[in-house]
């Protein structure tokens, strides 16, 4: 396997993705990611100089809406699935500035 994924990398990616892996899962993740990246490295075989990265397949552009209020008070619905709710707001663990 050409791509050796380090513990630091797994830690780092875990922080970015907000995922906490067990030691076992981490080992497996290192292997999985390594072999996946080996596979993705295959793309390096292709000469893509001068090719623009294509985000959107079709030339759809300029999709807009008018600046008109179309929504009313949907609070009840918005909060209906909240794990924690107080005074019409979502409850979250204490944040700090």
């Amino acid at each position: 396997m050409a791509n050796i994924i380090s513990d630091e990398t797994i830690e780092y990616v875990g922080i970015l993705a907000k995922l906490e892996l067990s030691d076992e899962e981490k080992e497996q993740a290192k292997k999985d990611m390594g072999s996946m990246l080996d596979y993705i490295d295959k793309l390096g075989e292709l000469d893509t100089t001068g090719v623009e990265p294509m985000s959107h397949v079709f030339p759809v552009k300029n999709v807009f809406r008018e600046d008109v209020v179309t929504n009313g008070d949907d609070r009840e619905n918005i909060l209906s699935n909240a794990p924690g709710e107080k005074d019409g707001m979502f409850v979250v663990p204490r944040t700090f500035e």
């Binding site: 990611m33 990246l37 295959k42 809406r65 619905n77 663990p93």
Partner: protein, 486 residues
């Protein structure tokens, strides 16, 4: 009258002609579900009450002349990644185990406007990530053709439900083959439309630039009728394309004379099961006999499709799934210390292994230092893949090939080797990258008795050519051997 064996369109006609009531149809399918669910487990949620009350409502409207469409009163199953107002929507994940949407997806709304009766939500691979429906947090779905085998994925529940007559048709979603492959494994028809044809509003996103909603159904006629209902231009979806040619049923014509069909040599190489190869080539012969011009050609870049797809899909998914954080909806871990711990635990406990794997990969390929080498590179290769198809469609009307390298594998065999599993997507994935329409229609059965699917691929916005080709083939093929136990 054997209601359950009817196609969606013929049931719709029977209802219109007052040969069957909507309630009778719904009751028939509900008892079938009751009978077979413990065996097949196609559904995450069956909404018996809702379906029966919808049935009465729809019948009233039909009688009053308010609902006149061809599928009014026909019961449908919806894949569990499409929001359905008031009905549990889980994406087969623990992290949405209690999520009840407050709005319905546009495709579902279109169905309801046409008088469809929603039966429930079908099982899938968690967040549509998978090819066997085995990554579902709510148990696996079994292939009705042989319950030791998978139904395919990620729309496995939908495909199995159609095959088992637990619904008359179903909606699925396809990001890398998730409609076509389970259609192929379960012996039903499946279509992934051109990107932008069916609104993605309300479809819980996996790979936003690749996802499309489409039908899984019993025959090509049903497929065209369903497409006419669900395809629409939606101003709530910026990627929704405004199309004028949505009269898909006009393509139900038994004629392929002069149609140029290309068969990519690169689809018939190593790794393709010989029985699948035989069945697919036989189908090509049938079309040739009906007057199509069939020719082999080199598509190229086929082996690069999978790494390109996984880079892009994982990247988009890693971002799309960030919203599942235990704050606004869904699962929240019970014990935590502080905000970031709450995030980590909720997500780690709520997501399954395959989802976590893809989120990690996606976060990595987008991370600083790797973005150019992985993500941008994949987008460049995507452009090349699109170009290869553009070149092919300059010569051919339709591209023909297999849907998957094999028939349905056995349960429990696929998840241990993710890359091998990913390789199974080889024929379907590039179609999503290029935004093209792809259709899967049963063309045979292997020696194990498992269905084989034929894939027809069209240039963008060319569903009609696919429908016409598929319809012609279907007429020549005759009825597809249905499951024994009815």
């Amino acid at each position: 009258m054997d209601i359950l064996s009817m196609t969606a369109v013929s049931l719709g006609t029977a209802i219109k002609n007052k040969e069957v009531t909507v309630r009778e149809a719904v009751e028939a399918v509900l008892s079938r579900i009751e009978e077979k669910e413990s065996q097949y487990h196609c559904y995450v949620t069956v909404d018996k009450e809702g379906a029966l009350s919808q049935a009465d409502e729809v019948q009233r409207k039909i009688d009053a002349g308010e609902l006149t469409g061809p599928l009014a009163g026909v019961p449908v199953a919806i894949k569990d990644n499409m929001c359905t107002e008031g009905l549990l929507t889980t994406c087969s994940s623990k992290i949405l185990n209690n999520f009840v949407p407050t709005f319905s997806s546009e495709a579902v709304l279109n169905l309801k406007k046409a008088g469809a009766v929603i039966l429930g939500k079908t099982n899938m691979d968690e967040f549509a990530m998978g090819s066997t429906t085995e990554t579902s947090a709510y148990g696996v779905t079994k292939n009705p053709w042989n319950t030791e085998h998978v139904p395919g994925g990620s729309s496995g529940g939908s495909a199995a439900a159609v095959a088992a007559d637990e619904c008359f048709y179903a909606l699925g979603s396809d990001t890398g083959g998730s409609i076509r492959q389970p259609a192929s494994f379960c012996g039903v028809v499946g279509l992934k439309p051109t990107y932008g044809t069916v609104s993605r509003y309300g479809l819980i996103a996996y790979g936003s630039s690749l996802d499309q909603i489409g039908p899984l159904c019993k025959d090509v006629t049903d497929c065209a009728a369903i497409m006419e209902i669900i395809a629409s231009h939606d101003p709530k979806d910026s990627t929704s394309v405004e199309r004028k040619d949505l009269d898909f049923t006009s393509a139900l014509v038994d004629d392929v004379k002069g149609m140029k069909i290309g068969i990519p040599r690169d689809y018939f190489g190593e790794g393709l099961d010989p029985e699948v190869k035989e069945a697919v080539l036989k189908a090509a012969e049938v079309l040739k006999e009906k007057g199509a011009v069939v020719e082999e050609f080199d598509l190229s870049l086929v082996e690069y499709a999978i790494p390109t797809y996984y880079t892009i899909a994982a990247a988009e998914a890693s971002s799309n799934l960030e919203r599942f954080d235990g704050i606004k909806y869904g699962y929240r871990t019970e014990e935590y210390e502080g905000l970031h711990n709450m995030y980590k635990k909720s997500r780690s406990e709520g997501f399954g292994a395959e989802v976590k794997r893809r989120i990690m990969l996606g976060s990595f390929v987008l991370s600083s230092g790797y973005y150019d080498a992985y993500y941008l590179k994949a987008l460049r290769v995507k452009a090349l893949i699109k170009k290869a198809f553009d070149d092919a469609f300059a010569k051919y009307d339709v591209i023909l090939g297999p849907v998957a390298p094999t028939t349905a594998p056995k349960l429990g065999e696929s998840l241990s080797d993710p890359i091998k599993m990913y390789l199974g997507d080889i024929y379907t994935i590039s179609i999503n990258l290029a935004g093209l329409p792809g259709l899967s229609i049963p063309c045979g059965v292997d020696s194990k008795g498992l269905p084989i699917g034929l894939q027809l691929i069209g240039d963008c916005f060319n569903e009609k050519k696919l429908i016409q080709t598929a319809y012609t083939y279907e007429q020549a093929r005759g009825a597809f051997g249905r499951k024994e136990d009815k």
